[in-house]
Symmetry: C2
Subunit: 687 residues, 2 copies
């Protein structure tokens, strides 16, 4: 009723807007509804039958006028079905009007986003030093002392004389810093070979067209706008710690490399990692999944193989080889890629490609450990393995790849009997995702810093994330390229030794009572937040290590105790989560340092452990791991808390990444992509 | 009123759904509205005052019960502002509910698109011949007689024994055919090196990230589903017309080329064109804009140059060179690219890049003719030139590029005095878009067919689009790779000669009266629809060419007349529009031929001009040209009808392409892209 009235009277109402249209004709339709009720309520007022009859007449009169308006007979009965129909129509009508208003609104907004006029800005103030930088430093290279956009506007000009903070890398660590830094504290410069931030955890989804590449990247310049920073697209090559200069390189359009220096007051190294080759031969026959271009190459290779498999000249054996997809590495990246690939082949391929292909496809995951997702809870690993078994994804555990050939992969597998057998697998595509290793730049720094840096896999920092071996408070390292040194024992022993000498005692003869031990433990907790979990039962630990039951710990016993704790502290995982937390931590600390600077200066405190004085040590809080495993997802919050599930878990998995996404822009793009997949499936095109 | 009721009673209504919510409380509110009306209509029924008073009571009773329901005092006065407020709130509330229903609905739908179970399809019937094709043909190559998906389902199986239609190319011509062909007439195979159709007219928009690459492509397999066709990703190399075999090649995953034959009954050549190098040296320093990969390369190069221009080591001169963008060719592609580039630099660049860059950017268009867009109406060209002048896009007319060097472009310009001067322009990027030329495959066929093919630029067909020199009705050519031969004179003269000999007359002595001439003209019109416009005033033409005023045309005079018409017929433009029309025409004709086949067979009509017997000749209908020129657009419908305008024209321009887009999928993607541009601007990332 409602709907048809709205539609029928729209013309009559003429000049009245949409809002009044909704209200006006209802009057007519509801006249009838009241009328019906009145007749039904007759028994209540039987004594006034006569009057009601008159009222009827009155209504009949009004009815007539209503009929003149509409010109059509009014429906005489209103079944609930009819009612429902009318109402549904009304809602449908309203939806269209509201949608229409939305569309018109969007067009009005959109029209305002086109600049129709522009003017040449006239002369722009650019410092001469910015255009012709002074040369200097150990290699006499140009030094970027002033940026060409330092005078672009008043806000930029204000930053000019602030301390220079240089961030090497635009990944999780660097971007977390940019998002948390106090905008007015530093003159920020980001150096990276890529001018975008890449949302790495969803990269496997981009390899099969579930997501667009565009939705996973955000221009660093957008992110940097908040801190009014500067971006330099270049590669970090070296750092001169004494003159505080970063040497960077850039390939010009003529293919020649130019190098220059970027000066810093504070330097943050967040250059990430590269894929670990594990010394395996033939990795040129593999694909990797570190950057956005890798995702595109993988997608094109997968489709290419499908197309080749369709050709009449392709033999049966060759077809099986082309359709054998091998993933080397059973960590989250490998597993998620295998799952996404399976989705593509299972959901989209069969719709358009010959059925024969679906039958000859095989997906294999080669994992060196007992289980896939071995860093997760065992229940989670098992769930993933069962899921893969059902989906006919072949999981080969306890297997190590020894060589990758263009058409097959050679690996050794340890059987349940402990014997190792060498096997071969024909393959048309291989993804190599077996952990990370150091970049060349990080290796160079590590070598330069000498004995202080002993870790072959990452740059070692103290718990304040300061790069070991560099002037205190100048250089920090975060993310995959770094590791926090957990030398609890050494640190505390040095501290106690110092304390003992000061008190005029021989440290070797030092005896600690329980109260002393509690103080030491407090010191450890503050300095090494990761150790807190291992220092919960102080009395128990004390009793355990007081082997002579003297009621005191001597120096040897204490060292033994702390070493034990050292061993329990594992190194932090090379994940986005860790880099993100380190970036946030460092941003807060640097902002704190900047605010403390005037006071410290006034009190002539310019040397010493300023970091420790103004801010706590870095503590990693594991928030859990998650992985997509093919129309289901797994979550592991640690300590045995975990969750596995089907489609609802997939939506939950998406929601978490949606929330973590770097900007409103990427969030909307992600939502659009998921909608596109639902509507049109994935892409099966090479472009 | 409406809104507040809906909101207030929603809780009371409890279990009733949203639809019933909309209706129910209206009854209460309208009670009041009717009530007011009743009291107003009192004068009409003054005699029944008593009864009305009773009715009042009755209503008061109902009112009370209504109040009990809501538990709140009813508003006593309804100012129009309040009303408006209530209604706005109602509409807002409804919008949210409708939006919510939409979102929930979408999620329900989305959840249904994930296959959670799958089964290996078991054994699939694939013909042995499909897996091990027989060898044969002049080169003894495998012949694709049966496809591996010929038995995939019942529908496919039905197509198996239909005549084989092979389409070379998946561009505008091929895809127009696929969309128009009767699904049951042929066993269709499409051969193309790309497994997608590219919406070329919008390619310039993709170079700067206004549109996504994905939105411009549609998988050929999707388009082909309607005709239950087969796709072979391969390159056409040669055709053996006598044994009806197309030779195709494909590079395998080992980099080796394999070749095989595809047999046909009807062959359609729609392989398109390549960029015309015009014999200019140094084109390796240019970018082209023919394929999707070109668009990506251009985008990355443009951003790369911007990034290099920001570096401190870049000299002022080098920066100006890097930011000098040159477009060679003032046709629609060149002009649209220049416009899109200007938009990027004008609208998006300044938001994030140093201001200095904006000041040093220059865009140049080099055009060999007097005007840009020279195939358009002059008014349109002028409008575009004025627009470009205002936008500081430098248009260099009457200029021919002689050489492209890595850092500069050398060209000659003819001044107003007719003198030619050689000039140089430093450039950081050059787009080469100066028309099209023949593909290698088309050149090979042209050479093979010998003297029949005299055009150096395209394959010549008759007006039935049959490739000249091939067995009649076997091979067709459409789109950019072909041209329709307009040899009106030769054709008619041959026809008349034949007629004369039959009548036993010497054709040289043939005299045509006006009625004869009218018959000849009819014949010409039918055979050469493009000539219709030039044959409107038959009497005038007759009088003009009857030079001896004999009242008859002799053979020489007639030949002169027809030659004149020949000259007036221009060759068809190499546009998407022409290819599309030819594809549609051919699809209709082939379907007609297939339907006529049984009848013709029954009557033993297997030879002869079957095409002409069942269908009219091809006639190109120019529907107009359009171009985007930077926040404004131009339209040219021919014959002086044209339109130029600002933002509204841009929306119109988009609407036209939106409507022409190949599928619902690409339409939705396009709409999403335009929305993205409005919300977030264009991309300024290299990925």
């Amino acid at each position: 009723m409602l709907g048809c009235r709205v539609a029928r009277h729209a013309g009559l109402l003429g000049p009245h807007g949409a809002a009044s249209m909704a209200g006006r004709p209802l009057g007519l339709s509801q006249t009838r509804s009241l009328f019906t009720r009145t007749s039904r309520s007759q028994p209540i007022a039987q004594q006034s039958q006569e009057s009601v009859r008159r009222t009827w007449k009155l209504f009949a009169l009004r009815q007539a006028s209503a009929r003149q308006l509409s010109g059509r007979p009014l429906p005489q009965s209103r079944s609930s079905l009819l009612n429902f129909g009318y109402r549904a129509a009304a809602w449908f009508g309203s939806s269209i009007v509201i949608f229409g208003i939305g569309v018109v609104g969007f067009f009005l907004y959109d029209a305002s986003t086109y600049k129709t006029h522009h003017s040449n800005d006239g002369d722009i103030a650019v410092s001469k030093v910015a255009l012709n930088p002074r040369r200097g430093g150990p290699k006499n290279l140009p030094i970027l002392e002033v940026c060409i956009d330092d005078d672009d506007n008043d806000e930029m000009r204000k930053q000019k004389d602030k301390p220079k903070l240089v961030i090497l890398g635009g990944g999780w660590g660097g971007v977390a810093m940019l998002k948390e830094l106090n905008p007015d504290d530093y003159h920020v410069t980001v150096v990276s070979p890529a001018n975008y931030f890449l949302f790495t955890p969803m990269l496997p989804s981009a390899t099969v067209g579930t997501l667009e590449l565009k939705s996973l990247v955000e221009p660093i310049r957008n992110i940097m706008q908040r801190v009014k920073g500067h971006f330099v697209r270049a590669c970090a090559e070296d750092v001169d710690f004494s003159s505080r200069l970063v040497e960077v390189s850039q390939i010009g359009s003529d293919g020649k490399e130019t190098r220059f220096y970027i000066p810093y007051d504070k330097l943050v190294i967040a250059v990430g990692s590269v894929t670990n080759p594990h010394g395996v031969r033939g990795l040129e026959n593999c694909h990797f999944l570190k950057d956005i271009d890798d995702a595109r190459k993988i997608r094109n290779k997968v489709i290419e193989n499908l197309e080749l498999a369709c050709l009449p000249t392709t033999s049966d054996e060759e077809r099986k080889r082309l359709l054998s997809f091998v993933v080397s590495g059973g960590g989250p990246t490998g597993v998620e890629f295998a799952a996404e690939l399976f989705d593509l082949l299972n959901e989209d391929l069969t719709l358009h490609f010959p059925r024969l292909l679906r039958n000859e496809i095989s997906v294999h995951v080669i994992q060196s450990r007992d289980h896939i997702l071995n860093t997760y809870d065992e229940a989670v690993s098992k769930y993933a393995e069962e899921r893969f078994a059902r989906d006919q994804v072949d999981v080969l555990t306890n297997s190590r790849v020894s060589e990758v050939l263009p058409d097959r992969i050679v690996f050794t597998q340890k059987g349940p009997d402990g014997k190792t057998v060498t096997k071969e697998l024909p393959m048309g595509f291989c993804l190599w995702s077996t952990g990370v290793s150091q970049t060349q730049f990080a290796q160079r720094l590590s070598k330069k810093l000498g004995d202080v840096q002993t870790n072959r896999h990452a740059l070692e920092t103290d718990t304040h994330l300061r790069l070991n071996g560099t002037p205190l408070g100048d250089v920090y390292a975060i993310g995959d390229c770094s590791t926090v040194q957990n030398n609890v024992a050494d640190h505390i022993v040095a501290f106690l030794r110092n304390l003992a000498w000061k008190r005029g005692k021989d440290p070797e003869n030092l005896e600690l009572h329980f109260s002393d031990w509690r103080n030491v433990a407090e010191q450890v907790k503050k300095r090494f937040p990761q150790a807190v979990g291992h220092l919960k039962r102080l009395d128990k630990l004390f009793a355990e290590y007081d082997k002579d039951q003297s009621g005191t710990l001597d120096f040897g016993e204490l060292r033994e105790l702390l070493k034990q704790i050292d061993n329990k502290l594992t190194s932090l995982p090379a994940t986005a989560q860790r880099a993100h937390q380190q970036g946030q931590y460092l941003a807060h600390k640097l902002s704190r340092l900047a605010r403390a600077a005037p006071g410290l200066k006034a009190n002539d405190i310019l040397e010493g452990d300023l970091d420790a004085a103004v801010y706590k040590a870095f503590e990693y809080k594991h928030l859990g791991s998650l992985a997509y495993i093919g129309n289901s997802a797994v979550f592991d919050w640690g300590d045995g808390w975990n969750l596995t599930g089907g489609l609802w878990a997939v939506y939950a998995w998406r929601s978490i990444y949606f929330a973590q996404s770097v900007s409103l822009r990427t969030r909307i793009l992600l939502a659009m992509d998921w909608a596109k997949r639902g509507m049109f499936g994935r892409d099966l095109m090479c472009y």
